[in-house]
């Protein structure tokens, strides 16, 4: 873990993970992960629960620490160096399963918090940007409400807008629709599809296979802490190679 790349050279790969391992105590959660994400690529990660998908993408903005191997985001290596972590977090947006909006701040304040305190944007400007993205996710009229007053789908769209306000180059989605009522899933997925059309680099942990078919450039299947299979969506769904992938697909597409 000696190499610390701080160069701001425009690298071709958005994310590069090489031989990454992670343990929780004695438990080996991520085993030898190798993954390269090109700029503008959209990747869907699926797999049974406990397979390490969430842990993997949480390693990419250092919400979790990895113990072996390398993760380079935007050409910057993730190490203990706080400067690197700050730099990466400025470039990487994240959307959580349970939204994690700040309940004591209005929707608008949620969106302007990071631009004001991290990017040091003037308030007026931050609010303009926030309104732009709130319009983009189609809820500008809710700007002055509190998160607790919104429906789950609306909250998740605010969370997406909040991340976009930092103008990230990469977006991570950690099961963004699995805490939502069925009728609200589509409004969030529409927002994500819209986002994909702008050429954003996206890593998305989700079980929405329709979304994967429509948007993904690549689908990754994980099980037991390993990447078992990765392929183009068409190939992945019609002709899975590995037995475990077949089993998983038959279970989630079975009905």
């Amino acid at each position: 873990m000696a190499k610390v790349a701080t160069s701001k050279v425009e690298s071709e790969n958005a994310i590069e993970v090489r031989q990454m391992h992670k343990w929780y105590g004695e438990f080996h959660v991520l085993k030898n992960i190798n993954l390269t994400v090109k700029r503008g690529e959209r990747i869907v990660i699926c797999g049974p629960s406990g397979s390490g998908k969430s842990t993997m993408i949480r390693c990419m903005n250092r919400l979790e620490e990895h113990q072996q191997g390398h993760i380079l985001v935007d050409g910057i290596e993730l190490t203990n160096d706080l400067k690197n972590i700050d730099a990466i977090r400025r470039e990487v947006g994240m959307v959580f399963q349970h939204f994690n909006l700040f309940p004591h701040l209005t929707v608008l304040e949620n969106c302007t918090l990071a631009p004001i305190w991290v990017r040091k944007t003037p308030k007026r400007e931050a609010e303009e940007i926030a309104m732009k993205y709130l319009e983009r996710v189609k809820i500008p009229e809710q700007a002055l409400k509190y998160p607790g007053q919104l429906s789950g789908g609306q909250q998740q769209r605010v969370a997406i807008a909040r991340s976009l306000c930092m103008n990230p180059r990469i977006m991570l989605f950690d099961e963004p629709t699995s805490a939502l009522d069925p009728e609200m899933i589509s409004e969030v997925l529409d927002t994500m599809i819209d986002l994909a059309s702008t050429g954003m680099t996206m890593l998305c942990v989700t079980h929405e296979m329709g979304f994967a078919r429509k948007v993904a450039d690549r689908v990754i299947f994980m099980d037991g802490g390993e990447i078992i299979e990765e392929n183009k969506p068409e190939e992945f769904f019609t002709n899975p190679q590995n037995e475990r992938t077949k089993l998983f697909l038959s279970q989630i597409l079975g009905h």
């Binding site: 305190w117 003037p122 308030k123 007026r124 607790g148 909040r162």
Partner: protein
């Protein structure tokens, strides 16, 4: 809503039974009955009291408040001697209650917050140490702590002649703490004014910094500048004007110290015991308040690129305070009410003056107890109505 009504399902019944099975009528009947019983009880008690008082020839009245109290109070903010009225004794007592409550709350808050945060520390040793402190403090009655500290000071501390000195100005003995009192020279006003200006300056600067941040996004170092304005600047002025503040240090004369301030053992024991006892509860409150903020909030703030201290300042503390403040206030109220235990060691608070010596000397149990309870009630109600207002103001808005 929780009262089941079964008017529809019951067949027609006659007379009073019909009223009883009408849900609204039943509610009215129950309430009238309750009030009637209550009035009867109050009437009965008051009638007994009137008869009893008549029998011993006492009448209710508050004249005694204006008669001389005939006892001394060894610590008073006001001019007081044994010829002062009972009312004045009560006021002196009330001020003493406020003094011990104020000091106790101040110390308890600081100690409690520090302990609460340390209790969450990842450091194993510190964590365990604070755990022991909290459990030891809160599982022993506060009255016992008061007596223990008081007993320690009065019995185990040396007499004034062998007092433990901290330098040449602070002395700890079984008579309490003797410390220097300030004697400001005329020029000292310059330092005082600088300090006041410093505080005003810090407030103005904070507003200015907010405005600058809103307009340009630049974040100014408010903390350092405030520190400079409030602390460093007055210190500089103080020394430029030639350190115009003298101290009257306590000195041994005969069997005791003369000069300076004396803090009596009763006040020390009461303040310390109340503060440390309450600090254990505050520590638990603070700990659970911080734990109540969902970890996802910290993660989300981290994912947005906020540094740890900013996450605390902008996300965790504002949410934790909502959880902490209501129980914190009730701890403050508990401390204030517990300060009435002063009577056990002879500190003259409102309970010990009006509810203690005045009561015993005048024999006016009824009047004295009513007054004492009314005073405590007023304090409690004032604080809790303020709390309700505050809670409503900061309540999280949900649908």
């Amino acid at each position: 809503m929780s009262v089941a009504s079964d008017t529809d399902s019951t067949p027609q019944r006659g007379g009073i039974m019909r009223l009883w099975y009408d849900s609204e009528a039943r509610q009215v009947i129950i309430q009238i009955f309750t009030i009637a019983v209550l009035f009867a009880l109050v009437f009965y008690l008051v009638r007994n009291a009137v008869i009893n008082l008549d029998a011993i020839g006492k009448s209710l009245g508050f004249d005694f408040l204006f008669q001389p109290a005939n006892y001394d109070i060894n610590q008073s903010f006001l001019e007081y001697d044994s010829r002062s009225s009972n009312l004045k004794a009560a006021i002196v007592g009330l001020l003493n209650t406020f003094l011990v409550a104020g000091l106790g709350i101040f110390i308890a808050t600081i100690v409690g917050f520090v302990m609460g945060v340390l209790r969450l520390s990842k450091n194993f040793l510190m964590n365990r140490l604070v755990y022991c402190y909290v459990e030891a403090m809160r599982n022993v009655p506060v009255l016992l702590w008061i007596l223990l500290v008081h007993g320690f000071i009065v019995v185990n501390m040396p007499g004034p002649r062998q007092a433990l000195g901290l330098g040449e100005s602070f002395f700890f003995s079984n008579r309490g703490i003797n410390m220097p009192s300030p004697l400001p020279e005329p020029l000292f006003w310059a330092t005082a004014i600088t300090f006041i200006l410093g505080v005003i300056g810090a407030i103005v600067f904070k507003r200015y910094a907010k405005k600058i941040q809103d307009e340009t996004g630049k974040i100014l170092p408010v903390l350092y500048v405030s520190f400079g304005l409030i602390v460093v600047l007055p210190v500089i002025v103080y020394f430029i004007t030639g350190a115009p503040l003298n101290w009257e240090t306590p000195a041994m004369q005969g069997f005791n110290f003369q000069g300076g301030y004396v803090v009596k053992p009763e006040l020390i024991a009461l303040t310390l015991a109340l503060a440390l006892y309450t600090s254990a509860f505050i520590a638990e409150t603070v700990r659970s308040g911080i734990l109540a903020v969902n970890y996802g909030q910290t993660e989300a703030a981290g994912a947005l690129g906020l540094r740890n201290n900013r996450t605390l300042q902008l996300v965790v503390i504002p949410q934790a305070m909502r959880v902490i403040v209501p129980p914190l206030t009730s701890q403050y109220l508990n401390l204030t009410k517990n300060s009435s235990l002063a009577i056990a060691i002879g500190y003259m608070d409102i309970t010990a003056t009006l509810g203690g010596i005045t009561l015993n000397q005048t024999g006016r149990e009824m009047e004295c107890m009513i007054l004492v309870m009314a005073i405590y009630l007023c304090i409690s109600l004032a604080v809790s109505s303020f709390m309700n207002w505050y809670n409503n103001r900061i309540k999280l808005i949900e649908r």
